[in-house]
Symmetry: C2
Subunit: 326 residues, 2 copies
């Protein structure tokens, strides 16, 4: 096992890539109801902060989801992205997420040469790997960088994860993400999982990323644990915004990294200008007892979200409900 | 370096001791203005949850601090503790904190045989070790268990810490605490510090504890990192209550530990009954941008507390202020 030494802590790793997932994961909190001003300022903030990739949202199927019920970043039409970034004449790359089973990728993902998008990130459960691979190959053949984000691995069989990693190793995918969907994993487990994924990455020349959730206040800790072992694609969101307990905070990560290309000041400015207002307007996310409990019990956060949205605080009853479902 | 393996994660360590510091560290938030009902219920909760030690507060000098300005747990008179615990006919042990320079220990700490208190925890900075040792020897000679909590080590010279540890090794103290006063330490640093403290502990047959703060959302992560290396006295508070960003949450720690003697249910009940009300009544603690910044910059949280209490949210101005003081 590799372990960070003093030199590692004082230096910086030029291979690290920061991904801002604020719109995509945060959009799950407010049905993507962001103003254009918010998105435009976030884009400028990411450019100024030196963030490497900004995820604009999902490429969701317009057949399956009603465009009147969600903000436009649920669909991420190329023209909507272009209205924010123009020709994106910056070092910031743009990604969108394609959800297996909820994306008309053959139609909605056009050739990269004609699109402002640089990367397609494919989100899949372990049992839908064949379609995930089809999206990856489709996107790669159209000229995009691609990643595969295998969700909910804390509930998957380890041998199934091994098979999925082998399939991805032999595919065109550029990066594979460790995803702690339920915020249930502890740093020791992240260590073991990172070693597994990094072993595959070395064999097939892929990169490994991490997307963590904060149910147990471990999103940042798990991210820097994975980082110390060699994981280099790091997802974060401003002010932790994301479904339920939220994500790894970009401001924590930039504070930790010593790479002078990253700057915290624009991030702080964005938070004071926009994130506080979002919360005042009713958007809710962040560590709280119900999310902690679904994390501890390795369950999907949906029950915790319903419980919180109903304004309930009878944690003991909620705990008994979760135990019943185990 | 020892590292947790799968067996360690499935099993439990019988040597672990949980310390509830809710009143003592939480009292810094509300000037110890807890109701007797709160304290009595917390005592019952700790007994029911299997917590090993409950810290009632400080033994502060009544010459230096006005009893009308603080709740009684700033002073922890023996009769006040007894009014809650009677003869404390339980497995829960009771501790109080003696702050170097702010405690009339020779007078206010009576013989253990006549007191409901089991342990005196001595809080000191590195430059006041001689008085800390005097309090330790005084308390040990009166029959108490003792610990020494060396504060603000992230700002101390490592060679000074080495000297302090040697002094403590040769003293009567039972345990020494790693204290991350500013919430500035990362898990890799906690690892190195734990190894240093544990080396001394082995040489002199002492126990090592950890008291973490949550400025960078690392209080729980740092606590379980230290635990995985052999640190066994673990401070936590209910709902993270503590100065500024707060502490390691007891409910996270109990969820992580596999020891069947610890029970989360009474903790959840206490949180839903009492902690929510404290917050509604105006007590403020928990992770927030100002505390994150003092943590990142390894500074005392006092400026962040003033900033928050003034209702300010201009984080960029606050950040510039902190940089100025570096």
């Amino acid at each position: 096992m590799k372990s960070a030494n003093l030199k590692d802590l004082m230096a910086f790793r030029p291979d690290i890539k920061l991904f801002d997932a604020t719109i995509r994961d945060g959009g799950l909190v407010n049905n993507f109801g962001f103003t254009d001003e918010f998105i435009r300022d976030l884009y400028k903030t990411n450019v100024a902060a030196g963030v490497d990739y900004m995820e604009f949202g999902y490429k969701a199927s317009k057949d399956m989801f009603d465009e009147n019920e969600f903000g436009k970043w649920k669909f991420c039409k190329d023209e909507d992205i272009r209205s924010i970034v123009g020709d994106n004449d910056t070092d910031l790359k743009i990604s969108v997420m394609a959800d297996v089973g909820r994306c008309d990728y053959k139609k909605d993902i056009i050739k990269k040469a004609d699109s402002p998008i640089d990367m397609i990130r494919v989100a899949t459960y372990i049992n839908t790997m064949p379609e995930a691979l089809d999206i990856i190959e489709d996107a790669a053949s159209k000229g995009y960088e691609t990643t595969c984000n295998i969700m909910a691995i804390s509930n998957a069989q380890e041998s199934d994860v091994d098979v999925a990693l082998e399939m991805l190793g032999k595919s065109s995918v550029d990066g594979i993400y460790i995803v702690d969907s339920y915020g249930s994993l502890y740093p020791e487990q992240i260590r073991r999982i990172s070693e597994k994924y990094l072993g595959m990455a070395e064999k097939y020349n892929k990169q490994i990323g991490i997307h963590a959730h904060n149910n147990q206040q471990l999103a940042f800790a798990n991210t820097i644990e994975a980082l110390s072992l060699g994981v280099n694609m790091l997802d974060a969101t401003l002010d932790c915004m994301g479904r339920g307990a939220g994500n790894c905070a970009m401001e924590l990560l930039i504070g930790f990294l010593k790479n002078p290309k990253y700057r915290i000041y624009p991030v702080l400015r964005f938070i004071e200008t926009h994130m506080r207002k979002l919360k005042e307007d009713g958007a809710k996310w962040g560590y709280d007892i119900p999310y902690m409990l679904t994390g501890q019990l390795n369950q999907h956060p949906r029950d915790a979200i319903s419980f919180s949205e109903a304004g309930r605080t009878d944690y003991t009853e909620f705990y008994k409900l979760l135990l019943d479902k185990d």
